[in-house]
Amino acid sequence: MKLTIDQKLDIREVLQDLDQYRPRRRGWHWRTRLAEHRLGPFVYRDAASELANSVPLPSAHAFADIDPQCACVITTEIASGRFEDDLRRMRMAAWHGADHIMVIRTTGQSHIDGLIEGTPEGIGGIPVTRKQLRATRKALDAIEDEVGRPINFHSYVSGLAGPEMAVLFAEEGVNGAHQDPQYNVLYRDVNIHRSFVDAAEAKRVLSDAGLLQLDGAHNANATAKQAWKVTPELFVQHAINTAFSRAVGMPAGQIALSTVPPTAPPAPKLRLDLPYAVALRELFDGYRFRAQQNTRYIEADTREATVTHVLDTLLSRLTSADVQSTITPDEGRNIPWHYNNIAGVETARQTFMGLDGLDELIELKRDGPLGMQARELKERAVLFLEEILENGGYYAAVNAGQFVDSGYFPERKGDGIVRAPNAGDGAETVVARSAGYGAPVCSHFGNNIFARTSDKPCADYGGCTLCDPGKIRYIDELDPHDNVDARLAVPLAERDAGLLRPEVEQHGDGIVCVTLFVPAQPHAAEAAALAMAKRMGLDSPEVISRHVMHPAEGSVFEVKGVLDVAIPSADLSIAAREEPLSDAEIEAWVRPRHIGLVAATVGEDEHSVGLREILDIKHGGIERYGFQCHYLGTSVELERLLDVAVQTGSQAILISTIITHGDVHMRNMRGLSKLVKERGLRERLVLIAGGTQVNHELASECGLDAGFGRGSTGRDVASVIVRTLQSKQAMNDG
């Protein structure tokens, strides 16, 4: 499957022949950090290779459109509920620099004792199934070819079906997974024995398949009443999963700690979060770090979320991060919208590129409060471990409510999570292996008669699926109604008919968001905002963000609603638009040729602002390319422009014509064309007009080379002058 840049991802092609699909690559992929990377006008210290195709950060236009990529992997989490929509979101995210796509599972999959098959719709995520994994991995193969960088695909190996899920991931080329038995116990109430026995098998499978494993300790941040006080326990949770993984045989390089800076402003974030981040990296030297951004405090304000996420990313740079996970800035108010996945990724990228080479500039003051606090955190963690062992071990400690207590250990509030060893989902399902226990397969953990010989355990029957993928059994669908084909019927018919609807989450969902400031007290203002949204024609309007500017003067709201409008793309008149030349191209042509131009506002017209913005170097106007500009002012006669053009040997005339009473702007443009022709100068001069009511068609109709209306820039004008002069030159040469 191959993608074409100007074509949408073809979901029909993705779904075709999935029974035959095999992943072409296994295991995790890290970016390669380049020592001294020269790009455009800069040399980067912490960059990886650029992408073959990408969308640069917005300000790149000022820096030769460079698109540097940071050295660490960047994650985006995707959770629309429909994998067929997620694929398009993944493609967009990859173009913006994400190379770790984490797919959130549907609510409740942890409690299903077995695998799900087919493509049923999920809630807050997707049901992870073999078909869904294959379709996603197949699409990601094509997407990584398009951007020119391997993309890691990731989901969750937790709940009651951990070992099966791990086998599924290994078979289907998934590259990373969350696996932490403590997560099951504390947050999913899966039986503690079941959770750890299953985890050993799952970890062994993940380990052999080369997946990167993330733990689940960061969830305590989100659960504890005061997240910064649970930090001593976080060391312990990380350590339990790490040591358990090592005991099962997982190499250190595949074990990643999932860590979140626990606070957000107005808390003194760096003072609290940095000692914790430093202590963690010291205690877990040799392991990988997946730095997650904070989600705990985000509510409706995406700007606030973004600032916190920038600070989180700064903490990553001040310490270390092998993987920087991003959080969509709208996560606090709705299931993330796809364009906000891109916003989250760009926040991390923008911050990392801005902090490039930070190590050369500053170092942490280890001898001071930072070191003292880091040490204290470690000691509190050791005390936590001592108490677990004094309590009779891990199971007893969990049963005694030692975990996720909101006290700053050894302080206790008595509100920890309590899980009895014989309770929870899957209780009483753990069975002792008899002396003759056997499992004739690879990647199996623990006592096994088939592991005693020098042959592979699966040699007796010609190999297991991990050795012979041809034996994998693919199930397409089990539910004739709840599946991807049923869901795609309407969207694909609309797409084939060329109908366009707005969307934020799923294909053509119609959701739009409007921003309104209403000058009234908060309650009245909010009611008015909703009424206004209804008057705009939005169905089911809902305020998703409210921010008081002043209790009496007013509030600003973001209101979402459904715009039930399908626009036939065939009916749209789309003016052919030529991309302007780049700044560098324009300057390279103009500067050595000493191109002169004459400019003025013509007729009886005193408007000067628009033209000055096109001309002045201060406003990014065309002077900066090396044009020799002769600006004659306002209310200038057309004849005078021509006189000066002749005197100065200029090659272009720019007129600004703002006033439109009696079509005076048309008369000015026609007048210029006529006069230039009368004087026999038409071949020599490029004629351009600008003004609020001017456009290219109108100017051409009046005999000029080009016309510019609102929103035009110096670059647009300069580009047209250069191209017109180039074509005149080519005609003369020809």
């Binding site: 000691e379 050791v382 001592e386 309590v418 004739p440 397969v441």
Partner: protein
Amino acid sequence: MTTVERKDDFNVRRRHLQKLSDKQLHVRFWALVDALVQPLVVEARTHTTPSIERSVLLRMGFSSVEAKALVERAQELELLGRGVGRLVLELAKAKRITVPDAGALLLDGHHWDELTP
């Protein structure tokens, strides 16, 4: 059951840790963790679960639907401790048939009584 509340007595409790170097503290941390995890690893080494057994059958080439049915039946007959994968393989060897064929016979309800308990 929840534990009682306790005030932050860190300064009292930490006394035995105070003199340790950072490196010694790290060593103590990991020694405690290893001691804590060790019985969990032993339990995992010597026990199995329905999910582990289904994951074995998946690796032997059965579908998730088949694996679920086979393990459920084995659970009813208290055969999980032998390893369901082993039972299927032994049946295949005894009958001189393939593993998938042995699984199909079991799924049809045959030969369960011949499996070693």
